[in-house]
């Protein structure tokens, strides 16, 4: 083992500066091929026509040869009807708006539950902070699917909540929360909560406590100090956490599919159905491009925040 390592080291050392190029080039090329190029292909296919073939979409570019005239021409057909369909059909517009609404409500719930948690942990005894944070992150390591599944048993009619309410005499029959927008809010808040607490905690923990002490000495009430000092200083954490929840939540598929009702429209579900049920790849691609357009501004803000944090960490 040692011999192999030393051979590797001397081999790579001889490469010297060239090795640096490889370190950048390998992940760079990988991401170009498997992250960037696929978007261009999706963009291309969103302009093609759905046909019954393998694969089920028409080619955009055709090389036509006219034997009689002896000429040949390159023909590029862009079919924009897919986008007209998105704009003209209420189903798609409603799905986009509803996705934004559900993602916004989820983000708000995560903030309302996550902020006090992050604040309490950041204020706790330093020795206890690690384990307390660990307890927040731990559920994130268990399967997302399993955690959504756990809520089915709790929210369904004759489920845990329904039985509890009946036992307490509040209701006199099964209550079904499952298959509604509320079930989706609960499930999504549950799954995304750790993503909110993490960035909030890391900004709150860095805050200098002497600022609050100074404010208190000058006669500021705790609540006023919170509004005027803590909240503005934790803004980067609020922005980062909200984006980490909001952006993936807009395109969420599994939670609305398992917990939502048939009328819980979300764009991720529409895309899935266009692709798997209708086998209409061009429309699915157009749905994806439109979703990306909606998300491009939040994603760029996220990248900006993330970049600033990486700079600050140095």
């Amino acid at each position: 083992m040692r011999a192999v390592v030393s051979l590797l080291v001397s081999g790579l050392s001889r490469i010297g500066l060239w090795g640096r190029g490889v370190v950048v080039a390998v992940p760079y090329l990988w991401l170009m091929l498997f992250f960037l190029v696929p978007f261009l292909i999706v963009f291309g296919i969103s302009f093609s026509e759905s046909i019954i073939a393998q694969p089920p979409y028409s080619s955009l570019v055709e090389w036509l040869t006219d034997e009689d005239a002896g000429t040949s021409k390159l023909q590029i057909l862009l079919n924009i009807s897919n986008y007209f369909r998105l704009g003209g059909d209420d189903l798609y517009i409603l799905a986009y708006l509803n996705s934004l609404k559900i993602a916004a409500v989820t983000t708000l719930f995560c903030l309302l539950i996550g902020y006090p948690m992050a604040y309490a942990i950041a204020k706790a005894d330093p020795a206890r902070r690690g384990p307390l944070m660990m307890l927040v992150i731990l559920p994130f390591w268990t399967s997302f699917l399993i955690r959504i599944y756990a809520w089915i048993g709790i929210l369904k009619g004759n489920g845990v909540i329904s039985n509890l309410l009946e036992w307490a005499g509040i209701t006199s029959g099964p209550v079904e929360i499952l298959y509604s927008d509320w079930a989706v809010y609960i499930g999504m808040t549950y799954c995304y909560l750790p993503f909110m607490v993490l960035p909030l905690y890391s900004t709150l923990e860095k805050m200098d406590p002497s600022l609050l002490e100074a404010a208190a000495d000058l006669g500021s009430r705790p609540f006023k100090s919170f509004l005027q000092i803590t909240l503005p200083l934790s803004l980067p954490g609020i922005v980062a956490g909200s984006l980490l929840v909001f952006i993936p939540a807009v395109g969420e598929f599994v939670t609305p599919e398992l917990l939502g009702g048939p009328d819980t429209l979300m764009i991720g579900r529409v895309l899935w159905n266009e692709f798997f049920a209708n086998r209409d790849w061009p429309v699915a691609s157009a749905v994806a491009i439109a979703l990306l357009l909606v998300l491009v501004v939040p994603i760029m803000i996220f990248q900006h925040v993330q970049g600033k944090q990486a700079e600050a960490g140095r």
Partner: protein, 277 residues
């Protein structure tokens, strides 16, 4: 004694919200009755049935293989990416590179899945590879979205680390590759372990991307769970979930103990070095 104020209640509520569903899931996996939420006595029969469910076991084996290979690839690629972003200063195309590293963290899964599938189909048409879809395409897809998480973990470890050790080694004439293997690598080892575990669990958890890029005969465990959950809840899934939670909890526990011990050892070594120097 401190009063039990709003913050403590908020914390308690948060933890209850996070853990009660998982606890209920585990409790009901030992339920005699087929109706998952109505208690009818203690039983371990669902665990017994689990062992004879071949579809589930095959899918689990496949998922573990995919997760292990893609996590390893993701650590290799993600470490290079993290290193490039923190230690190489400015290079051409750095902005695009940084963008491609962070975007997959928030990209909706349906978009990642669809775009990768369309890439694989197009590649098959143009260059004849990959031949159909299956384990290879799932592994590539998982590597692509998990390497970003690894890169972020490595990046934050490297950013929080003092670069002076590396600089000192360079000043003493060590070549960059040697500096990396002898100094940087041992220092970021905990981050590598954490990154690998994260990539492994993310791969083991993914149902959306895998559904897009899998082919006939390559059904992963989450895909099996997803399709059976869609038909309603079953005690067998509870039993499976309990086992998965148990495995994860054990893994995290062992990893954190090992890492804490290493960290202590490192601190002790540092102290010794200071005293002796």
């Amino acid at each position: 004694m401190k009063r039990f104020g709003f913050l403590s209640w908020a914390l308690l509520f948060g933890y209850a919200f996070l853990y009660v569903p998982i606890a209920l899931l585990i409790v009901f996996s030992f339920n005699e009755s087929r109706l998952v939420t109505v208690w009818a006595g203690f039983s371990t029969k669902w665990y017994g049935e689990l062992i004879h469910n071949d579809t589930l076991l095959d899918a689990a084996l496949l998922s573990f293989q995919v997760a292990a290979v893609s996590a390893t690839l993701a650590v290799l690629l993600g470490t290079c990416a993290g290193l490039a972003l923190t230690r190489f200063g400015r290079f051409r195309g750095r902005t695009l590179f940084g963008g491609m590293i962070t975007a997959p963290l928030v990209m909706p899964e349906v978009i990642t899945g669809l775009s990768l599938l369309l890439l694989f189909v197009a590649m098959e048409q143009w260059v004849g590879w990959p031949d159909g879809r299956g384990v290879t395409t799932i592994t590539i897809a998982h590597t692509t979205f998990t390497m970003s998480y690894v890169a972020v973990v490595i990046q934050s470890r490297l950013a929080g680390m003092d670069g002076s050790l590396e600089e000192a080694a360079m000043d003493l004439g060590a070549r960059p590759a040697k500096v990396f293997f002898v100094i940087t690598l041992p220092l970021i080892a905990p981050a590598l372990v954490a990154g690998w575990l994260l990539a492994f669990t993310l791969s083991l958890d993914d149902v959306v991307v895998a559904s897009f890029v899998s082919g006939p005969g390559s059904t992963t465990l989450p895909m099996v769970i997803f399709s059976s959950v869609k038909f309603g809840i079953s005690p067998q899934i509870n039993a499976l979930a309990t086992l998965m939670v148990l495995v994860v909890a054990t893994g995290i526990f062992v990893a954190s103990i090992v890492m804490a011990r290493q960290e202590r050892q490192r601190k002790r070594d540092e102290q010794m070095a200071i005293q002796n120097g």
